[in-house]
């Protein structure tokens, strides 16, 4: 029995959930054992109250995602039946003639909080480990265990929506303020006694055993469905939501619809609608993609699947950062925040100080927003030593070089400063374009040389791409991996190759955008189609941001190295960029404008000259082709990275594409996309695009093989 059932002398039954898995979860075992408990409670004599408690550190974890991703259309009725059973059990629980109190001793997210909502009273331990909320939407799902319906009826539509649509999680104090729970205890051992105290104190209060929505005349806070204010909120809220999702995410749309129905309908009917909602979402590719990548994939990546197993933890104590430019100052900041001693070195003391100033600025912001104390700020700042003196680097166990993208310069820095490393210290190079193996040639210990590719702005971007050169040792890789986790970022590991994974793949998005431009497509349409597939910004706008000038420099370097066009014909892009930069002096946003003109007030508009140069009013490409071209180029490149072993795992490719280059969330990453799109369908579409637009759309061999193997669905 996984539900301990204990009745005390006062007639209070305490159910302590202690399921056989690592956490309490909504699965077959729960259905059976909780069902038995419910049956017993209904026949219990002299019952005065029920306390729901947990023997685990997490109060209750929610649904089993393995079950969810396995749902297929032919099993949908069984799935709904399964939900129906649990919902019926919860309904019986909340309709017991005595108060039912949740004693929340740990995280109660998703199904965990839904169980709490089916209790009359909720008391939580006020501790950092306790989080409450309904994060299902982040996995493309909705809270299908009564969460949408009960939270809407409890808080009202407008108050409930942030929790439902954004999956907002809160600590116990905020939950109390929001009305999500009723009481707090400071000592975890006081939880159950406090719950019992509540039950005894309410012995003569029959309302304490009745849920608000079951009370006669209950009015939903903030207004019911006929309230003009609510009608307005629904109309505006739908538009706001669609603006955010661009119609690419079915889950929040469904949640909003179910919540509105919950305002209108009785609890039981609304619960059925909610079940139909979760069932429908479960079948969507978006949910399968998001669960696969944001739950299973991310757990694997963060769990160290790409880290060498046999190397003991490699903690970074003293970090040298070379170059206090935009990247170096960001690296210094995130490292100091993680408690690492940082030597921030630049050519002059002044530049180094300026680099540290960035941390000061960010920390002051935190202090002014009340998110950090002055003492803590000073403590973090004291960890950063700005310097122009090489010797200050002495004894660093990790040095990250973040100087300009130039091989000679990087070689020189390596030569000059490698000796400052502590014995067995590791050298990391932050580069996005230069091969690690070649950079490591300047090192006397190339096995200690590793690529650590940060994304800009470093303090905001959650990803680090670690590049393994030909000679990089497992220890060096482990060092980079552990350091990345120390600074609370997600590491993906790739093998050395021009452009690695992220830059190479992202480059195809820009390339295809520029190709569309040169074919005569309207630039506004091009960028809007990029956004329509779910990219954060259109390709031309991105090009302006990263600067066409920089691209030109990179091409020059690659030409010197003899690797120009290694991954594909860049003639079209070079023509456009040269026309823009050389002939028209439009190098990008930071060069006074590029494809766009930038006004002082921050607004932007297409540079009119661009239309004269490229736009052809008689060119009408189907929108579906525009969208697929912008997306498929990236997917094809990611598949090529996988088949050529640049990517060491699909999970790294998926997480890397989402966190590093803004691949659309609904795809679950560029590789996961193909799994739900279907390999055979993907190959067929590639061939169509190839026939119409060129062989860069030829399906990669790995996709052709998988299509032949009939490998369609993610596990």
């Amino acid at each position: 029995m996984t539900m301990h059932y204990d009745k005390d002398a006062d007639g209070i039954v305490t159910i302590t959930m202690d399921m056989s898995g690592p956490v309490n979860a909504m699965n077959d075992e729960f259905r059976e054992d909780f069902g038995a408990v419910i049956d017993k409670l209904q026949t219990e004599e002299d019952l005065s109250g029920v306390v729901i408690a947990s023997a685990k550190k997490v109060f209750f974890a929610g649904g089993d995602l393995n079950d969810l991703v396995a749902v297929t259309p032919d099993r949908i009725e069984d799935f709904m039946q399964g939900i129906g059973i649990i919902k019926a059990q919860m309904r019986v629980l909340e309709k017991l003639p005595v108060p039912v109190v949740a004693a929340i001793n740990g995280a109660a997210l998703g199904g965990g909080y839904e169980l709490c909502l089916a209790c009359n009273h909720r008391i939580a331990w006020n501790n950092r480990s306790v989080k409450l909320g309904l994060p299902e939407v982040t996995l493309g799902l909705l809270p299908g265990g009564g969460g949408v319906v009960r939270l809407t009826k409890l808080l009202g539509l407008e108050a409930a929506l942030p929790y439902l649509l954004e999956g907002k999680q809160v600590d116990p104090v905020k939950a109390l303020d929001a009305g999500m729970i009723h009481d707090l205890v400071t000592d975890v051992d006081a939880l159950v006694p406090k719950a019992k105290e509540y039950i005894l104190a309410n012995k003569d209060n029959p309302d304490s055993a009745v849920q608000p929505w079951d009370q006669k005349g209950y009015k939903i806070p903030g207004g019911g469905i006929t309230s003009p204010k609510i009608q307005q909120a629904i109309t505006g809220g739908t538009a706001m939501l669609m603006q955010k999702t661009r119609g690419l995410l079915p889950a929040p749309e469904k949640i909003l619809d179910v919540a509105v129905q919950a305002l209108k309908l009785d609890l039981e009917t609304a619960l059925v609608i909610e079940s139909r909602g979760i069932a429908a979402l479960t079948l969507t590719p978006q949910a399968k993609n998001m669960i696969s990548t944001f739950f299973f994939g991310l757990n694997k990546v963060n769990g160290g699947a790409s880290r060498p197993k046999d190397v003991p933890p490699q903690k970074t104590e003293k970090l040298g950062v070379l170059g206090a430019g935009m990247m170096g100052q960001g690296i210094a900041y995130v490292s100091a925040m993680a408690g690492i001693e940082v030597i921030l070195k630049d050519i002059s003391q002044e530049s180094a100080e300026k680099g540290k100033g960035y941390s000061e600025m960010l920390l002051d912001k935190r202090v002014s927003r009340g998110r950090m104390t002055v003492e803590k700020r000073d403590e973090v700042l004291a960890r950063i030593t700005p310097t122009a003196n090489d010797d200050d680097l002495a004894g660093c166990d990790l040095i990250i070089e973040a100087v300009f993208e130039n091989i000679e310069l990087k070689h020189g820095v390596t030569n000059q400063l490698e000796g400052q490393l502590a014995e067995d210290g590791i050298w990391g190079s932050n580069t996005s374009t230069l091969p690690i193996t070649q950079l490591a040639e300047a090192s006397s210990k190339p096995e200690n040389f590793v690529g650590i590719h940060f994304f800009s702005p470093v303090d905001k971007m959650p990803l680090v791409e670690i590049i393994v050169g030909d000679k990089t040792s497992d220890v060096a890789l482990a060092k980079a991996f552990d350091y990345t986790q120390q600074i609370k970022k997600t590491p993906i590991v790739v093998n050395d190759s021009l452009g690695f994974f992220t830059s190479r793949t992202f480059g195809t998005y820009l390339d295809e955008g520029v190709r569309l431009l040169s074919e005569g497509a309207h630039p506004v349409l091009i960028d809007n189609m990029g956004k329509a597939v779910g990219m954060p910004v259109g390709p031309l706008q991105v090009y302006d941001e990263v600067s066409m000038e920089l691209s030109r420099k990179a091409w020059e370097t690659w030409e010197d190295m003899g690797v120009l066009d290694k991954w594909g014909d860049g003639t079209v892009a070079r023509d456009v960029v040269n026309t823009m930069v050389v002939e028209n002096g439009r190098g990008g946003r930071h060069h006074g404008g590029g494809f766009y003109e930038y006004a002082e007030d921050g607004s932007k508009a297409i540079w009119p000259g661009l239309l004269d140069l490229y736009y052809k009013s008689d060119v009408h490409l189907p929108e579906s082709d525009l969208k697929d071209r912008l997306l498929f180029r990236q997917v094809i490149e990611a598949l090529k990275c996988l088949e050529s072993n640049v990517l060491r795992s699909e999970e790294d490719g998926n997480i890397g594409s989402i966190m590093g280059i803004g691949a659309p969330v609904w795809t679950g990453g560029l590789l996961q996309f193909v799994r739900t799109y279907g390999y055979d369908r993907f190959v067929a579409r590639c061939r169509e695009l190839s026939a119409a637009y060129g062989d860069r759309f030829d399906p990669p061999q790995i996709a052709v093989e998988r299509a032949q193997d009939g490998q369609q669905q993610a596990a």
Binding site: L265, D266, R276, A280
Partner: protein
Amino acid sequence: MPNTAYIYDAVRTPRSKGKPGGSLHEVKPIDLGAGLLRAIQERHDLDTSYVDDVVFGCVTPIGEQGSDIAKMVVQNADWDESVAGVQLDRFCASGLEAVNIAAQKVASGWEDLVLAGGVECMSRVPMGSNGGPMGSDPAFAAKTGFVPQGIGADTIATLEGWSREDVDRYALESQRRATQARDNGWFDKSVVPVKDESGVTILERDDFIKPDTTMDGLGGLNASFEMIGQFGFDDVILRKYPMLDQVNHVHTPGNSSGIVDGSSAVLIGSEKAGSDLGLTPRGRIVATAVLSTDPIIMLTGPGPAAKKCLEKAGMTKDDIDLWEINEAFASVALRYMKDLDVDHEITNVNGGAIAMGHPLGATGAMLVSVVLDELERRDMKRGMLSLCVGGGMGISTIIERA
């Protein structure tokens, strides 16, 4: 008539209790209607861009049935952007009015393909919640002598001398016939199961019918309109019908039409539409008629409407094989048969709204599929459909197998 208005198909949803707890309570009106449009589209692989208009009856067009629900149903069904939609309200006749207007549009030659039907989710948008002057404008009600329909139904029974047993016996037979038709699958051709978006069936067949109904059970029900009659409505009637000394309140929930959720759709088009789209006509609209009678008793219109319809068609009652009268109340059906001198044997042969329910705006167009199916099953030719209508109106339509 320049063009013949052919019936290319007729479908309806099953009906279910129109209150919380009913099987269709969870379904939005736009989904209930759109399900039928999709069914019509699928059954005929229909190029929806050919459809000129969708005319839908809805008697309580507010809230989620408000603001021209017909057009919203068209969009919700993902029909072609070019298809228009209009909602109309002729009280309980709305569904048949939609059919008649569609037939007139096609017959005039001005449109070629029109979908007619109706939707009414009485569980979600309660009857009467849209208000209106009929009963709630005191000056108007005092001037015109308004009484609730049930009082009118009781008055008909009183005038005709029909007892509680007479109306209950009629109700029992409606239940028996409806049960028999449903259980033998006679409705299956036209009743389209309501499904959710994952394809899971919400309701497959009518579940409002009460097969276990008995005379004893019916007899035990309280008269619905006795109390409000005593408030003064009976007196309004007695002033209009001074030959009566009292109103005999015989109608109960058991012998009145049920409050249900439901929707209906009938595809009506020209011969050209049929040949262009490869559709085979199942029937045609022969004639339509609408008129009004005493607005106080309110429910005596169907007989006169049917006579008018026969006249327009140049027919006599012997040309009609099956008669269908909406069972708003048992006395309405009895009065209809008496007015026209037709036998119960050929009237409402598969029961009616007493057994299956009356989703106000949808019912009229439901009668088309009910009668057409039965004409086909019995290999007969012609049917007359009629409904009583608020304000004393009556409506009729003659349909004929193609």
